[in-house]
């Protein structure tokens, strides 16, 4: 039956409608999101003042503190513990060399140049080899030294104050730190921009750990 266009269009559109199932689906979609927003709103509404105060306090402490917060206070002990642990394992050397020049050729992937330390020179030690290692997550050279009938371990790595904190510096006439770990004495110092950690193990090792 013919009718005016407007009337016919309204009749036509009345037949275009969402089913109950579709309506329920859409309402579920909307309600789920609204409930989620309400929960978040309630949470932040009640906690916001406390969160703001804590945030301001943390920022204030961070901004006024001269010491980086993420460096443990017992960093020297942690260094000594890591050095001694690897010293006792005596892992196989990757290179056998008696001179620091030969060692440098092998450690080409390091971001620093291994050097001879004045502290080690005083100890009457003989370099026998080394291997790649790390100290507190920083790539390092682990050198093995022969001292009489003992083997010692010498770590060298670049000195990063943000990682290691303050370590005594030889150039400032400061004495190396002496820390004991697992019964073994460890000297820790900074020299020419490198951090050194040297064991002074009293035991005579059964072998040199060289393969």
């Amino acid at each position: 039956m013919s009718q005016p266009l407007k009337q016919q269009l309204n009749r036509y559109f009345k037949q275009v409608e969402l089913s109950d199932r579709q309506l329920t689906e859409l309402e579920g979609l909307i309600n789920a999101q609204t409930e989620k927003e309400n929960r978040i709103g309630r949470f932040y509404g009640s906690k916001l003042p406390a969160i703001a105060i804590i945030l301001v306090a943390v920022i204030a402490i961070f901004m006024t503190s001269p010491i980086p917060r993420d460096i443990p206070k017992d960093m020297p002990r942690l260094i000594a513990e890591e050095v001694v642990k690897n010293h006792l394992k005596l892992k196989p050397l990757e290179i056998k060399a008696g001179t620091i020049n030969a060692i440098r050729g092998y450690f080409s992937k390091l971001e620093f140049m291994p050097i001879e330390s004045s502290v080690v020179s005083d100890e009457d030690m003989q370099l026998i080899g080394g291997r790649y290692c790390s100290l507190q997550g920083v790539t390092a050279a682990q050198l093995r030294m022969k001292q009489g009938r003992s083997l010692q371990t010498l770590y060298q790595t670049q000195y990063l104050p943000d990682v290691f904190g303050y370590i005594p510096q030889i150039e400032k006439d400061e004495s190396p730190l002496v820390v004991y770990a697992r019964g073994i004495k460890v000297k820790i110092w900074v020299e020419k921009g490198l951090l050194f950690a040297l064991t002074e193990s009293p035991e005579v090792n059964k072998n040199e750990g060289v393969q």
Binding site: S2, L5, I30, Q33
Partner: protein, 159 residues
């Protein structure tokens, strides 16, 4: 977001106006609601208008290449006189309208939807569609000629 069933039905009809397909209309509405839920603050009064805008934009994006969403200008053969009563005197059968609906351009369907279902004036429709009133009236004139032809060469429809 506050949308009751009546509002959802209205939005669905608008989606159908754009797509001329019930399944596509539902998909379009659902995706627009999902988008609006991520962006709208709870309780926004104008959320239905926002969803309508999202549907229009998404429809244009997704169907432009397939259906060539038209943005036509008035040609040289624009009618001499145009007024708001251009569509008022058209009479058409329900069956013919149903057949014709899917063949109309999306913009023409929007014009008819806003005019007949929403009850907007031509000025309001022009603002909704973001075109000038003259452009809209010219479009309506061409639509009238199309309706006349499709509705049965004047025998069944045009008064």
């Amino acid at each position: 977001m506050k949308l009751d069933r009546e509002n959802l039905q209205k939005l669905y009809r608008y989606a159908y106006t754009l797509t001329a397909n019930e399944d596509d209309a539902y998909d379009l509405l659902q995706s627009a609601i999902e988008i609006s839920l991520r962006k709208l603050a709870d309780g926004t009064e104008n959320s239905a208008a926002y969803i309508r805008m999202i549907m229009k934009n998404r429809y244009i994006d997704e169907y432009r290449h397939q259906q060539s969403f038209p943005h036509e200008n008035i040609g040289d053969n624009s009618p001499v006189s145009l007024d708001e009563s251009t569509l008022e005197d058209i009479v058409i059968a329900g069956h013919d309208l149903a057949l014709l609906w899917k063949t109309l351009a999306p913009l023409d369907r929007e014009v008819l939807f806003f005019w007949a279902v929403e009850g907007f004036s031509m000025q309001e429709i022009a603002e909704k569609l973001e075109i000038s009133r003259g452009t809209l009236l010219s479009r309506v004139h061409r639509l009238r000629r199309r309706l006349q032809a499709e509705a049965g060469a004047g025998q069944r429809g045009i008064a």
